[in-house]
C-alpha cells in the first residue's frame, strides 16, 4: 500500500496561541495529533510533550523490535496496537508528573489521537475530543468516540446531537492526558483498503465544519496537502474559534502488475 499524507495546523481566527501539535512519521506510517489545554502556553507544552513521547516510543520500538512493552501482548490486539496504547499511557504519566512538579503548569492536559498503519491494518489510540475519520467509498465514518460530556450525554440519549452542537459545555472533557496519574485509552483496529482516506483532526475543525462538508472536501481534493488546506480554510471561514489541525492520509494500491490489470482493466487516472 502506498500512502500519501500531509498535515497542517492553524491558529484559527480568535486565539492568540496554537496549542495543537501533530507529527507525521512517514517511514513508520505513524500519525499523531494532540490538542493541548491549560492557559499561559501550558497547553502547548502538554500537547507537544504528548506527541514527542509517543513518536519517540514508537520510533524506539521500530529500531529495537525487542523493546520492552509495558503491557503484556494480548490476544485481541496486534502488537502495534498494544505498543501505541503503552505509548499513550507513558505520555499521560509524563504530562501528569510535569504538572505536579511545576505548580504553574497545574491543570495542563491534552487530547490525543494517534493512528499507526502496518501491514494492511490501522491501529488507533484515542483520548479526548479530537477525532479520527475514515472516508471509504464516499462514506465518512468516525472511528473514535469523543470523551466529552456532551458526547456522553448524546450516547446516553439525554440530549440529541442537535442539542449537543449548540451546547454551552462542549469544552468539558471526561478524559484527557495529564488529568490523572492513569488514563483509560480507547484502542481499535481497522482494516485498510486501497482508496481509503484517513483524517485526524482537532475539535477546531469539527466544531466549525459539518461531516458532509468534510467528506466533500476529502473527495474533491485528491492531494492531501490541498485537502488539509481546504479544510482549514473552511473552518476559518466559519469563524475559526479554536486552533485547527488536520492530518490527511490517502492509501493507494501499489502500482498494478499485469495480472491485476487483466482482472480489473487499466488503472484509472486519479
Amino acid at each position: 500500500m502506498q500512502i500519501a499524507c500531509d498535515g497542517l495546523t492553524d491558529v484559527g481566527r480568535v486565539r492568540a496561541d496554537n496549542e495543537d501539535s501533530f507529527r507525521i512519521l512517514d517511514p513508520l506510517h505513524l500519525f499523531v495529533l494532540s490538542d493541548g489545554m491549560g492557559g499561559q502556553a501550558h497547553g502547548e507544552v502538554a500537547s507537544s510533550m504528548a506527541v514527542e513521547t509517543i513518536v519517540n516510543y514508537c520510533q524506539d520500538a521500530k529500531d529495537d523490535p525487542n523493546a520492552t512493552l509495558d503491557k503484556l501482548p494480548s490476544q485481541q490486539w496486534a502488537e502495534k496496537t498494544t505498543r501505541l496504547e503503552s505509548a499513550v499511557q507513558l505520555a499521560n504519566s509524563k504530562i501528569f508528573q510535569a504538572a505536579q512538579k511545576n505548580p504553574e503548569q497545574y491543570g495542563m492536559g491534552a487530547t490525543l489521537t494517534a493512528a499507526w498503519f502496518d501491514n494492511g491494518r490501522l491501529s488507533i489510540a484515542h483520548v479526548g475530543d479530537s477525532r479520527a475519520y475514515l472516508l471509504r467509498g464516499g462514506n465518512l465514518q468516525q472511528l473514535t468516540n469523543d470523551h466529552s460530556l456532551v458526547a456522553e450525554q448524546v450516547r446516553r440519549g439525554i440530549i440529541t446531537p442537535q442539542q449537543a452542537e449548540s451546547s454551552e459545555i462542549q469544552s468539558v472533557l471526561l478524559r484527557a492526558l495529564g488529568a490523572h496519574a492513569e488514563v483509560e485509552v480507547d484502542i481499535d483496529e481497522v482494516g485498510i483498503y486501497p482508496r481509503d482516506v484517513l483524517l485526524l483532526c482537532s475539535d477546531g475543525l469539527t466544531r466549525m465544519v459539518t461531516e458532509p462538508e468534510i467528506a466533500g472536501s476529502l473527495q474533491a481534493e485528491t492531494d492531501p496537502h490541498a485537502a488539509a488546506r481546504k479544510l482549514i480554510e473552511l473552518a476559518n471561514e466559519r469563524g475559526g474559534i479554536d486552533n485547527i489541525t488536520v492530518i490527511v492520509a490517502r492509501f493507494q494500491e501499489e502500482p498494478k502488475n499485469w495480472f491485476s490489470w487483466l482482472r480489473r482493466g487499466p488503472a484509472k487516472k486519479d
Partner: protein, 241 residues
C-alpha cells in the same frame, strides 16, 4: 434567614448563616467557609444577597463551581440547591426566604474560549450516571440489548451469521473483511456496513449491493429484516435480542 451547610460525603462539616455580608468560600483559612482541599482555590466562590435573590459567584476558580450539575460563573440559588466545589458540596437552605421564581435565569458559564477543562471529581461522574438513569431513552438500554446480526441465506462465506460489533464491517474477499467472500474473482471489499449514532448504514465498495432488490444509491440505513444481496451472497439484517 438562609443558611449554607458544608457537607463532605454526606456528613455535615459546618453551617453558616448568610447575612448582609457575602459568605466567602475557599481554601484560605480567612474565608467564612474554609475548605481545606487542594482542589479548591484560595478564594473560590462567594454567596451573597442581591436584592432578594441569593447569588453564588465563582471567583475565577481553577476547578470551577457547580450548581446542581451545571458549571456556573454566577447563578441564582434556590432552596434545596447544592453547590459543588471539588468533592464538597454546600446545601442551600433558604426556606425562610420568599420563593424565587425559577425563570429568574440561571446562566451556565459560557465556555471560556481558551479553557477546555477536564471533568474531575468523581461526584460529577456519579451525577452524570444518575441523570442518565433518569433520562434513559437510549435504544441500547441494558437488559434489552439488541445485537445487529447478519444471517447468511445463501452464498459462499466463512460463517453462517455475523454479529456486527465494530464500527466498520466489510463484506469482501480481503483477509481483513468481517464477512469473507469465497471464490474466484470476488473483490477485496464488495460492500461495507457502518455504525453511526442513529443506526447501521450499508455503503458501496467495489460493487453496488442491493437492499430488498433495489440497488442502493449512497449510504442506506438498514432496517430490521432487510435483505442484502452482493456478489451472489444473500444476507438478512436483523436485530437479535
Amino acid at each position: 434567614m438562609a443558611k449554607l451547610s458544608l457537607m463532605f460525603e454526606n456528613k455535615l462539616v459546618k453551617e453558616v448563616p448568610i447575612g448582609s455580608r457575602p459568605v466567602s468560600i475557599g481554601r484560605s483559612p480567612d474565608n467564612d467557609l474554609p475548605i481545606d482541599n487542594l482542589a479548591i482555590s484560595n478564594y473560590h466562590a462567594r454567596v451573597y444577597y442581591e436584592g432578594s435573590r441569593l447569588v453564588v459567584e465563582d471567583l475565577d476558580s481553577l476547578n470551577g463551581t457547580f450548581v446542581n450539575d451545571l458549571r456556573v460563573e454566577r447563578a441564582t440559588l434556590h432552596d434545596g440547591d447544592s453547590i459543588w466545589i471539588g468533592k464538597h458540596h454546600i446545601k442551600v437552605d433558604a426556606t425562610a426566604d420568599a420563593a424565587i421564581p425559577w425563570d429568574s435565569g440561571r446562566k451556565a458559564a459560557a465556555p471560556k474560549i481558551n479553557e477546555t477543562m477536564v471533568l474531575d471529581t468523581k461526584a460529577r461522574r456519579d451525577m452524570l450516571q444518575q441523570a442518565a438513569a433518569m433520562g434513559e431513552r437510549s435504544q441500547f438500554s441494558p437488559g434489552r440489548l439488541k445485537m445487529p446480526t447478519l444471517v447468511v441465506l445463501s452464498g459462499k462465506v466463512n460463517q453462517k451469521e455475523y454479529v456486527l460489533t465494530n464500527k466498520l464491517t466489510v463484506i469482501g474477499k480481503s483477509p481483513m473483511a468481517t464477512v469473507r467472500l469465497r471464490g474466484w474473482f470476488k473483490p477485496p471489499m464488495a460492500a461495507q456496513i457502518n455504525q453511526r449514532d442513529d443506526g447501521y448504514y450499508l455503503g458501496t465498495g467495489d460493487k453496488v449491493p442491493t437492499v430488498n432488490g433495489t440497488p442502493i444509491q449512497g449510504p442506506t440505513r438498514l432496517n430490521d429484516g432487510d435483505l442484502i444481496e452482493v456478489c451472489g451472497v444473500r444476507l438478512n439484517f436483523i436485530f437479535r435480542e
